[in-house]
């Protein structure tokens, strides 16, 4: 087998190696060691994060499946359920943006249909450096077209997401893809290898040498020679995946299938030992039976290959023919490569020869977890301290407003989502660009609302509060379209967890997210952790992306962000206070990333309750939550989307004018409604215990904002609309 493999090169520590030797009662051979190497990598074992992840609330009366499976499942009544998960593909996308993003989308789609669900929507949460260098533009356009091509070919609409541009993501972009599916509760399937003697089949694409060691690669920091690590790059084939999707849904209906699992990171190794481990069984398989794309592949290459578009299926004994028949119809391979055993071992054979024999429990779940050293990093004190008297209040608010509106983090995302097919399958009711996307559930009055959210800058300034805000804003986005938030999925993107400062951020973000999930009753049902998002010693902002699903009982009552009718009153639900901490205004206008953002979860709850009740009563004509850019940007967006002007009259109550207009204080939703409904809104707000303040009127063709009687901003809506829409296109071309 050539020279002996060094366990350290596989990322295993001395202690871990000792444990392996003790467990086996012997030295592992090279193949066994490599299998341990990938399974015990952070990517597969979550060894640095598991103890922390236990903090998340994961139960609720609607939760059917929490974390630990391919995806989480939440009940939406009438015997139906939503299946969802978000996952990162950061490292592959940094090396090869197009294929990295495409295969990320492919992987998350498989996680959804593995549970028996038909995927109905994709969302993407993206982070890049500032759109200045050619390199960043290349990454950005590559990732966007990778997502677009894969989703479009599969016929699954990409309905929403978010993108931020900050310099900390320059070398290490974040690409998080979320997929959502619908399943009838009775059709749910799980990834278990149960029933001793049942055959194990590999189905879908052929196995090649691609992606060997992808999981270990994802568990390292990016370095200069990362570009040389070429085998880790896989090429996706969406048409193949479309066939696989249809074939899998068909076999799941046939009743022949006991369990099914997608071959993702660590390929056949992880799929076989995880399915066996979940069922408390073992698996024996013969690598010589695995259909291959290339000549001369070794058992090691077959076991570690991360070729895309493949699945492991555990079938009821004697029904292999039915599976083969269905796959033949879809022009795909389906081959029996082994069977379920009762001895708790993963036994890998190459023909008659046993080449690896490992206990599945140890391989799948035995990686020793660690609670790392955690320490508040020094920068926190510096960035949180900010003396506002040293930050000048601008003289020309029009100029500031226009600059802010054209910020990469605020301007329209049309350039991106125009590349996505967001209408395929014709269920999308609210398109990208709103607070949340809405899809109808065909044959019912119901709809589901979807969003992803995370302001990494807030998390950088205060991880605890940032984590709380990420969850709160996701839920608030859902409430704005009239949906009741049900459950969350999260993708935790952080730096190197062995660094005490990074681990401290991680710990605090999770604590904050958990608090908000508890307060807002949105348990976490699935998720993914991506560490080592660092390059040149610099970590990305802590970025715990929250994906959330909400239920709309009557799709006729959906609310969108654009103003609808001249004469409508504009009101703020929540307290109209400012809060410049961590704002886009401070960054763009004053070049500062500073302050200490915060949120009061009790107030947040009341605001969301008020907005949700108002949408149910059908009294709102628009709703849009205040986020990056603050109140005035929020109103400008509603003007642009409605193609109509607004007059705003604010009282500063002694606060700075820039704070009043551009502060990003949480727990605020701007709504518009006809005058005669105002009484109703006030009544609701009294009942739930939050404030409502009328601040202006939908009127004319101009956006006019006055504070304390002075006109600070006066802009033509058509004009600002053009600037806002064309910004990214201008930067890219």
């Amino acid at each position: 087998m050539g020279k002996k493999v060094d366990y350290r090169e596989l990322g295993l520590t001395d202690k871990e190696y000792q444990l392996i030797v003790e467990t086996l009662g012997r030295e592992p051979n090279d193949l066994e060691l490599e299998m341990y190497g990938v399974m015990w990598s952070e990517h597969c074992s979550y060894k640095n994060s598991k103890p922390m992840l236990k903090r998340f609330p994961t139960r609720g009366k609607r939760v059917i499946q929490g974390p630990g499976e391919n995806a989480g499942i939440v009940d939406i009544d009438d015997g139906q359920a939503v299946v969802m998960k978000i996952e990162s593909h950061n490292h592959p996308s940094a090396i090869e943006p197009y294929q990295g993003a495409a295969t990320g989308v492919g992987g998350i789609i498989r996680d959804i249909f593995t549970m028996g669900a038909r995927p109905i929507a994709l969302l993407d949460s993206l982070r890049f450096g500032e759109l200045k260098s050619e390199r960043v533009k290349h990454l950005f356009s590559g990732v966007v077209s990778g997502i677009a091509d894969y989703g479009n070919c599969m016929g699954i609409p990409t309905v929403g997401g978010e993108v931020y541009f900050e310099s900390c993501y320059t070398d290490n972009p974040l690409v998080n893809a979320m997929c959502v599916g619908i399943v009838n509760k009775k059709d749910i399937v799980r990834g278990k290898a149960s029933g001793v003697g049942n055959p194990v089949m590999i189905v879908g694409a052929l196995t090649g040498r691609d992606g060997i060691h992808g999981a270990s690669f994802a568990s390292e920091e990016l370095s200069e020679d990362s570009e040389e690590k070429r085998p880790a790059v896989q090429v996706g084939d969406p048409f193949m995946e479309k066939l696989l999707l249809e074939a899998c849904l068909e076999i799941l209906k046939s009743g022949c299938v006991v369990g099914i699992q997608d071959l993702g990171a660590a390929g056949l190794t992880s799929a076989s030992c995880e399915t066996a481990s979940r069922a408390g069984n073992g698996i024996e398989l013969d690598v010589s039976l695995v259909p291959r794309r290339e000549e001369g592949m070794t058992p090691r290459e077959v076991m570690l290959s991360e070729s895309q578009e493949r699945m492991l299926v555990i079938v009821k004994k004697g029904r292999e023919n039915e599976i083969e028949e269905i796959f033949r119809k879809w022009d795909l391979a389906a081959v029996t490569i082994g069977r379920v055993t009762d001895d708790g071992f993963l036994r890998v054979k190459d023909g008659d020869r046993v080449v690896a024999e490992l206990p599945v429990k140890s391989l799948a779940e035995g990686a020793p977890t660690t609670v790392n050293e955690s320490k508040q990093p020094a920068y926190i004190k510096d960035v949180q301290r900010i003396q506002y008297d040293q930050i000048p209040v601008p003289e020309d608010f029009n100029e500031v407003f226009l600059k802010l509106l054209a910020s990469e983090n605020i301007c329209s995302r049309e350039w991106i989502y125009r590349q996505y097919d967001h209408m395929v399958r014709t269920n999308t009711l609210v398109l990208p660009g709103a607070d949340a996307a809405v899809l109808r559930i065909k044959g019912t009055k119901k709809g589901i609302a979807l969003t992803t959210d995370c302001n990494g800058r807030y998390c950088y300034l205060n991880p605890l509060e940032g984590g709380r805000i990420a969850v709160a804003e996701a839920a608030r986005n859902l409430v704005c379209v009239g949906a009741e938030p049900l459950a969350a999925t999260d993708c935790l993107n952080f730096g190197n967890p062995k660094k005490p400062g990074v681990y401290w951020q991680f710990e605090n973000c999770i604590e904050g997210m958990s608090q908000a999930c508890e307060a807002l009753n949105t348990p976490v049902i699935s998720g993914n952790v991506s560490f080592y998002n660092e390059s040149k010693e610099k970590a990305v902002y802590p970025t715990p992306v929250v994906g959330m699903v909400g239920l709309i009982r009557d799709i006729n009552k959906i609310v969108t962000p654009g103003f609808k009718k001249e004469g409508d009153l504009i009101a703020v639900i929540g307290e109209n206070h400012g809060g410049l901490d961590g704002s886009e205004y401070l960054r763009v206008i004053h070049g500062r990333v500073a302050g200490n953002p915060s949120i009061d979860l009790e107030k947040e709850k009341a605001v969301q309750k008020c907005c949700l009740e108002a949408t149910k009563q059908g009294i709102l004509n628009s709703a849009h939550d205040v986020s990056e850019g603050g109140l005035l940007i929020n109103i400008a967006e509603s003007c642009i989307k409605g193609g109509v002007g607004a007059r705003i009259e604010l009282d500063s109550e002694g606060k700075r004018w820039d704070e009043v207009l551009f502060g990003e204080a949480q727990s605020r939703i701007v709504v518009s409604l006809s005058e005669h409904n105002c009484k109703l809104l006030e009544k609701i707000s009294e009942q739930v215990g939050c404030k409502v303040l009328i601040i202006g009127k939908v009127a004319g063709k101009k956006l006019i904002a006055r504070v304390d009687g002075s006109t600070l901003v006066k802009q033509d809506v058509a004009e600002i609309s053009r600037k806002w829409r064309e910004r990214i296109k201008c930067l890219m071309e």
Binding site: E96, Q99, G208, D210, V233, Q234, V235, F239, E294, S307
Partner: protein
Amino acid sequence: MFLAKVYITYKKGVLDPQGSTVKKALGTMGFDTIEDVRVGKYMEIMLEEKEKDVAEQKIKEMCDKVLTNPVIEEYSYDILEVRK
């Protein structure tokens, strides 16, 4: 004056969905002796250079920097001298 003929294909071991689709199509049409199909790109580039060495060096640089994606593709080329 030189004519460079540049051939770009996926690296060995990288999945070539287009190649496999063509292979499958050929198989169903009855070309049953097909072992493998790889689909790539072919480019012709005319260069106004005097020395072949210089032309070759420039072609290499173009391939590495723009014409190919070094992460998943490989290339080869022929350089021919042509008279105007």
